[in-house]
């Protein structure tokens, strides 16, 4: 079959799976909430250099702006007064473009089986399905990067310029693109170091980084060089150990081990096999964010190793057991979190308390809550929050005040912040503030006034 048709079919199937998950478990999640809220604020303010009144009791908005600008302009074009009214169809459009461009990255594999296997490995990684289901910002950034990669090999100057423009948009939508781009270049070059290719990619990456300063410079001028509060608690050095790996990579772990085992005996792939294992270890013990590096390498290396054998229908069927199992367990991550709302979609346990805050408190009140629920509080509850998970440029005193208050159920950490509404949840252990008025309870989330 023609690669383009395969890509469109893959795009339709992936978008349909994402739409089904979103419609079943949606419509809000604890992570994307930050992006939805600020897309709306951008639409209302008409720019992205505004003061975010809710995050950390008020701070400059410093997030890379491209997604918010696009979401705002698309809303305006469609005559939507609220981003929320176009969020789902816009998200699914971006998911479709992302899935199609993802499949096209595998176009240089000769057989359709190799292309399908590579794209399926990538697409069913839990993290990819999670951000594809909820966070349009990531999907958009990585779609831009994929299109840039598709044009990377072309010799024509105009197409190289386009590759630079798209990569700069990816960088100015999500800065992790700067790490993932070289990994893609290495994997798409089938793990060989071709210096001409490396130079070309480096030139494009450097030019795109420079061009992205159009978006970053106003942020740097207003706020200085970026820094991250609590990098090991919620920043780029967050890691969840082996169990995190099991939940995130799921059935890709045995595929990683098999691939590395078969690759290590093939001389040109020995270094790549070693790097794959190093990336897995880094994912488990240094930074969870290395998970996409693992997936990129695995999705290109597996069809490379097993290419010939994938022609056999038995091998393909056996391989798809892993992919189906990945998809089967996705609902566990999506819905199976019952009383806790930290993975993907937030259920009523977390959403209803936030609606209570939105309805029954004054808009001038401030909230102290587990920082992991800070985004969803600000999005649905719409009250100032002492700390959330946007830790770049974040005031560390506020983050740790909220974090310690939550960990120890001790309101003394909140002295001096004028917080009137305290929220605790029973994740892990039951939490309570015995001497405070408890005004809301759903058996999991408790609210207190002081």
């Amino acid at each position: 079959m023609d690669v383009k048709r395969e890509a469109v079919i893959f795009g339709i199937v992936f978008t349909a799976v994402i739409a089904a998950l979103t419609l079943r478990f949606g419509p809000v999640d604890w992570w994307g909430a930050y992006y939805y809220r600020n897309a709306q604020t951008t639409l209302e303010e008409g720019n992205t250099l505004y003061y975010d009144e809710l995050s950390y009791l008020g701070r400059n908005f410093t997030y890379p702006p491209v997604f918010f600008e696009i979401a705002s302009e698309v809303s305006l074009l469609l005559g939507a007064a609220n981003y929320e009214s176009i969020r789902l169809p816009f998200h699914l459009l971006v998911v479709f473009a992302y899935a199609v461009s993802l499949y096209m990255l595998f176009k240089n594999f000769k057989r359709w089986q190799e292309r399908v296997v590579g794209a399926s490995i990538f697409a069913t990684h839990a993290f990819v399905m999670i951000f594809s289901s909820t966070v349009t910002l990531h999907v958009l950034a990585y779609a831009f990067m994929n299109i840039s990669l598709l044009l990377l090999e072309r010799k024509e100057t105009a197409l190289k310029i386009l590759s630079i423009i798209f990569l700069s948009m990816a960088l100015a939508a999500h800065p992790t693109s700067i790490i993932l781009f070289p990994v893609y270049v290495y994997a798409m070059g089938r793990f060989r170091i071709d210096w001409k290719r490396v130079r070309n990619a480096a030139l494009i990456l450097a030019s795109a980084s420079l061009l992205s300063l159009v978006f970053y410079l106003p942020i740097f001028i207003r706020n200085g060089i970026p820094y991250e509060t609590a990098p090991a608690l919620w920043g780029y050095l967050l890691s969840y150990g082996w169990i995190g790996l099991v939940y995130d990579l799921q059935f890709l772990i045995p595929l990683v081990l098999l691939t590395a085992l078969f690759a290590v005996v093939r001389k040109p792939l020995q270094l790549a096999a070693l790097l794959l294992l190093v990336a897995v270890l880094a994912n488990a013990f240094i930074t969870y964010r290395a998970n996409l590096v693992v997936t990129i390498m695995l999705s290109f290396m597996f069809p490379l190793i097993f290419g010939e054998k994938l022609k056999d229908s038995l091998v393909m069927t056996a391989f798809f057991l892993f992919i189906l199992a990945n998809i089967l367990f996705i609902p566990v991550l999506f819905s199976g979190t019952t009383n806790w709302c930290r993975w993907v979609y937030a259920n009523d346990m977390c959403v209803k308390p936030m609606r209570f805050i939105d309805s029954f408190t004054s808009t001038s009140e401030s909230v102290a809550i587990n920082p992991e629920y800070g985004h969803i509080e600000a999005y649905i509850g719409r009250r100032k929050v002492l700390a959330d998970l946007y830790v770049e440029y974040a005031p560390s005193d506020k983050f740790y005040a909220a974090y310690n208050f939550y960990q120890e159920s001790d309101p003394r950490y909140l002295e001096g912040y004028n917080v009137s509404l305290l929220v605790l949840d029973d994740t892990g252990v039951p939490r309570d503030i015995p001497d405070a008025d408890r005004i809301y309870d759903n058996g999991f989330i408790h609210m207190y006034r002081r």
């Binding site: 469109v8 951008t42 209302e44 008409g46 720019n47 992205t48 250099l49 702006p65 491209v66 696009i70 698309v74 305006l76 074009l77 005559g79 096209m104 779609a143 831009f144 994929n146 299109i147 386009l162 948009m169 100015a172 159009v214 978006f215 106003p218 939940y247 059935f251 772990i253 045995p254 098999l258 054998k309 056999d312 091998v315 056996a318 057991l321 199992a325 367990f329 609902p331 566990v332 819905s335 199976g336 979190t337 019952t338 259920n347 009523d348 346990m349 209570f356 309805s359 029954f360 408190t361 004054s362 808009t363 001038s364 001497d435 008025d437 005004i439 809301y440 309870d441 759903n442 058996g443």
Partner: protein, 289 residues
């Protein structure tokens, strides 16, 4: 080939056993999303002057509940929705803790007794509203003469629909206090009412201006389409990659449009002009070929 298939199946079986064991750590029902029961206090007193303690509690389910109060526990079934609970304070001390327990939920508050008795109680309010972009600032001046100090639940109604039910602590005695609320409204003229109970205390109208239609954005998208088509023709780019280029170009142009015009203050037609220049350069390069 068969050997590889067998290896894959064996590895899969081992992985499945290990994975299901690990996943069992998370309690889940595959497709059963829990529907939380809710219990919350709506209005409740902090300082009580009479012989009766009255508070309002909302329950999302009809439940047999118990109220712990002045060292005794009373059974009190709650209906779905708002419930008014009245308790006699006979035999109570100066300080009281009231605990309402329903199912897995529990709310509580502490209060004290005071001596005060106005013959006539009232709550009056004056509302001022001002708007900036989509934000409406409400400045509320409350005049109250009350026997009990209590959290009281007000209502902000916009065009007949309740948008907000702020809960304020109103002190015992005669007091004037100021409150601020912020609403985000859609463009248009809106009537805002401030209510307590079923009574409108004050009302104001505000107008929110709509944003103009972004004609430069339309030009950006049309020019992106022209550029993608030109690239498709000139560089023999396949239709799918060309479509992706159009997708990328048009969204890039929209991002640049806002960044250059609104964040950096350049002319609103800067991006369409840039795209036209790109088209001309492309056309000129074709001429040279």
């Amino acid at each position: 080939m068969k050997r590889i298939a067998i290896i894959l199946v064996l590895v899969f079986i081992l992985a499945w056993i290990n994975h299901t064991e690990k996943m069992a750590w998370v309690p889940f029902n595959w497709f059963s999303i829990p529907n939380a029961e809710e219990l919350y206090l709506v209005e409740y007193p902090k300082k009580i002057s009479g012989d009766m303690l009255q508070f309002g509690a909302y329950s999302s389910k009809s439940l047999p509940c118990s109220v712990y109060f002045c060292n005794k526990t009373l059974q009190k079934p709650l209906d779905v929705g708002q419930n008014i609970i009245e308790l006699s304070m006979e035999g109570c001390g100066q300080e009281m803790l009231t605990i309402l327990s329903c199912g897995e939920s529990e709310v509580r508050f502490s209060s004290v007794r005071i001596n005060r008795s106005f013959a006539e109680e009232h709550i009056k309010a004056k509302l001022d509203a001002s708007s900036s972009k989509r934000t409406v600032e409400l400045n509320i001046t409350l005049n109250s003469q009350l026997n009990d100090e209590a959290y009281r639940n007000f209502e902000v109604v916009v065009d007949g629909a309740t948008l907000l039910r702020p809960t304020y602590l109103l002190q015992s005695g005669s007091y004037e206090s100021h409150r601020n609320e912020e609403l985000h409204l859609e463009p248009g003229t809106h009537k805002i009412e401030f209510r307590y109970g079923n009574e409108t205390l004050d009302a104001k109208s505000v107008s929110i201006a709509g944003q103009p239609f972004p004609f430069p954005d339309v030009a950006d998208i049309l020019l992106s389409l022209a550029l993608a088509f030109a690239i498709h023709k000139m560089y023999s780019l396949d239709w799918l990659t060309s479509s992706l280029v159009f997708f990328g170009l048009s969204l890039s142009a929209l991002a640049l449009q806002l960044q250059l015009q609104k964040n950096l203050g350049l002319n609103e037609w800067s991006v369409p002009v840039l795209l036209i220049v790109a088209l001309v350069l492309l056309w000129m390069s074709k001429e040279k070929q």
